[in-house]
């Protein structure tokens, strides 16, 4: 499969009053056209910051390390995302080739503008079309995501819709410009399971129809199992494991991934005790030395974990892990 976006050595810090905060540390991954990546990890692990980097959308106090490189492949050629500067240049990735949807749909809608005006405005910004054409496309898109009476709804405000409908309208708006990559940041976290199932279904259909790549950020491994081709697990800014969804969920190799799966309350086994990952995620201002997970790891090997950063070990062509437990395999490989 051909690459849609390559992320290489992404390293990002934030300048804060309390000092430099490392949010993403040497993260690399690729997404192919039509591929769905599930990005998981507990809050603060750097998922949203990583995703926003793809649109060069982080706050002004963000500092990208010089070796960070993000390459987007479009029909018009390669785009070096982190070198984009002006609003015009950035349009290519923001709402152009890449769209983003959020947990809180209201974040996507301006409160005082109708859904329609906003969709039309965005379409005209990214494509050469008349207002009437843009409106027609918007109505079609609202209809496509399952909003009833799209002719009427288009002139309503987002707050007038129910939670599920708002989520659908946000998806319609994000997809109306036909992006190549959709970033979905916890889009179903606040929804009831019933509505979540509807939204996931809709997203799956749309990926097939538009052949988009998706980065699906979630902390729910069930949602990942149901949507993703590939899983990336982050912890404290590091990508600790990456692999095909079946592999990672059935045979997790990183102790943190194993911990996340064991902590899940499973419906098929009501007798098993719930096993938390012990301790709390450390403050980003107090990043542990060596392996960032060593303060909570139950399989810790000893001093090497406290002092040496584990490097990526490629277990096979598609599955990689960063943990000293797997160091030996690298030597053999």
């Amino acid at each position: 499969m051909s690459s849609l976006i390559d992320v290489e050595n992404l390293t990002l810090q934030f300048r804060t009053d309390e000092g430099l905060v490392t949010a993403v540390d040497d993260v690399s991954f690729s997404l192919a056209k039509g591929e769905v990546i599930g990005l998981v990890g507990e809050s603060g692990s750097g998922k949203s910051v990583t995703a926003k980097s793809l649109m060069h959308l982080n706050a002004r106090n963000a500092l990208y390390a010089p070796q960070s490189k993000i390459t987007l492949y479009t029909d018009a050629g390669e785009v070096d995302v982190l070198s984009l500067r002006t609003a015009r240049e950035l349009n290519v990735v923001r709402g152009g080739a890449i769209s983003m949807i959020f947990q809180e749909p209201m974040a996507s809608f301006a409160p005082a503008i109708t859904i329609g005006s906003q969709m039309v405005e965005q379409l005209q910004l990214h494509g050469d079309m008349s207002k009437a054409q843009a409106r027609k496309i918007s109505v079609e898109m609202l209809d496509r995501v399952g909003i009833s009476d799209p002719h009427k709804r288009i002139d309503q405000f987002a707050f007038e819709l129910s939670g599920g409908m708002r989520q659908r309208a946000m998806i319609a708006m994000a997809l109306s410009t036909q992006p190549k990559l959709l970033i979905a940041d916890e889009p179903t976290t606040a929804l009831d399971v019933t509505i979540q199932a509807q939204v996931i279904d809709l997203m799956k259909d749309l990926v097939n129809e538009f052949h988009m790549g998706i980065i699906f950020i979630t902390h729910d491994l069930g949602v990942v199992a149901q949507t993703a081709d590939k899983v990336c697990v982050m912890y404290l800014g590091r990508m600790v494991e990456e692999g095909p969804v079946r592999e990672v969920i059935r045979h997790p190799k990183h102790p943190y991934t194993r911990g996340l799966i064991q902590a899940l309350p499973r419906l098929d086994d009501l007798d098993s005790p719930l096993t938390p990952v012990p301790g709390d995620i450390p403050s980003p201002l107090e990043r542990p030395s060596g392996c960032v997970f060593h303060t909570r790891c139950q399989e810790i090997l000893g001093d090497i974990c406290k002092s040496a950063l584990p490097h990526d070990t490629q277990l096979d062509a598609t599955h990689r892990v960063a943990c000293h437990l797997h160091d030996t395999k690298e030597v053999g490989a």
Partner: protein, 334 residues
């Protein structure tokens, strides 16, 4: 009311009056004729989509939402109260026996309060302690039980992680020594890695302190692992209520079945197997006639549109409110 029941609600209704038009007063029934019996020392789970009335029922049992019809009796070893009429000194006394664990108490509190002040506030407001020293003692005692680091009592909560904040919230709810505790979406905002820890703590506290919990959650997996008994609500009505094992082994109501089916399976090869529930829960102001669920029920028949089913107990303690549950058990596998 038998001795092992702590709270017994009988056709409890919470109605909110809305815009008094001259012709008719409309009332929003957030909870509609709900009967439940909560056993002492149990973990009673309450599930349903948002808007189904879970929070309102919990608040009614805490005497924080108006009981407009029906009644609810609270009885422990010392007192018996009728919650529908409770007031004055008895209400004050009930406040220390029945408490709510907030999902995020900081939203409502001054950021300048230390952890100690947050936990101590209920004691001070209710005047339950005679001296600052006694207050501090109670705070330390409950903080230790909630596995909080006592050195943290002097700090401000904004510096704490989600798990620690939730433990502070639990300590605040338990400091007055309640017997009945409502935990409303207490772990909803937590990461799974920490959620398990908070759930284990709640179970520990329940057995150590002899508490009775009403555990409200939209997460059925969490409820399955935590609760002894589960009640399912839809649009203000109780549609199914059973011991946890029974409910999860063989759900009887089409709504419960749909909820189960919507939980994303951890097996990537299970994709697309879920039976999807269409549409959304209707507004309580616009309640369908007949069975409240008929507008979304995959098994609805004509009778369902006309006649509302009643909650029935076929004799095995597994209550259900559906015209067709027996027949569906045989013909439609869960």
């Amino acid at each position: 009311m038998s001795d092992d029941i702590l709270i017994s609600a009988d056709r409890l209704t919470v109605g909110y009056p809305l815009g008094n038009s001259i012709l008719r007063k409309s009332v929003l029934k957030a909870v509609n004729e709900v009967s439940v019996h909560i056993e002492r020392g149990s973990f009673f789970g309450l599930v349903g989509e948002s808007g189904s009335g879970k929070t309102t029922l919990g608040r009614a049992l805490l005497k924080a939402a108006p009981i407009t019809e029906g009644r609810a009796i609270y009885r422990d070893d010392e007192v018996e109260y009728d919650l529908s009429t409770l007031d004055g000194a008895e209400l004050k006394d009930y406040r220390k026996r029945a408490q709510l664990i907030f999902q995020d108490p900081y939203a409502a509190l001054s950021p300048r309060m230390t952890v100690r002040d947050i936990i101590a506030e209920p004691l001070e407001v209710m005047g339950l302690t005679a001296s600052r020293q006694e207050t501090d003692e109670r705070v330390r005692e409950i903080a230790a039980k909630c596995r909080l680091n006592l050195e943290h009592l002097r700090r401000f909560p904004h510096a704490f992680s989600g798990g620690q904040r939730q433990r502070i919230s639990i300590a605040r709810a338990l400091v007055s020594g309640p017997k009945f505790v409502v935990a409303d979406e207490s772990v909803a905002a937590l990461d799974v890695s920490i959620q398990a820890d908070v759930l284990n703590l709640l179970k520990q506290l329940q057995s150590d302190l002899g508490l009775t919990f009403m555990f409200i959650s939209h997460d059925l997996s969490v409820v399955a692992h935590t609760c002894d008994h589960v009640a399912v609500m839809y649009l203000g009505r109780l549609v199914e209520s059973a011991p946890t094992r029974k409910l999860f082994a063989m759900p009887r109501h089409p709504y419960t079945r749909a909820l189960f089916s919507a939980i994303p399976s951890l097996d990537p090869d299970d994709r697309g197997k879920a039976q999807k529930l269409e549409g959304e829960i209707p507004s309580p102001l616009n309640q369908p006639p007949g069975c409240k669920f008929h507008t979304r029920c995959p098994n609805a028949i004509d009778r369902c549109k006309r006649e509302e089913p009643r909650l029935e107990d076929p004799g095995d303690g597994h209550e259900v409110s559906c015209h067709r549950w027996r027949e569906l058990l045989e013909t439609v596998p869960a």
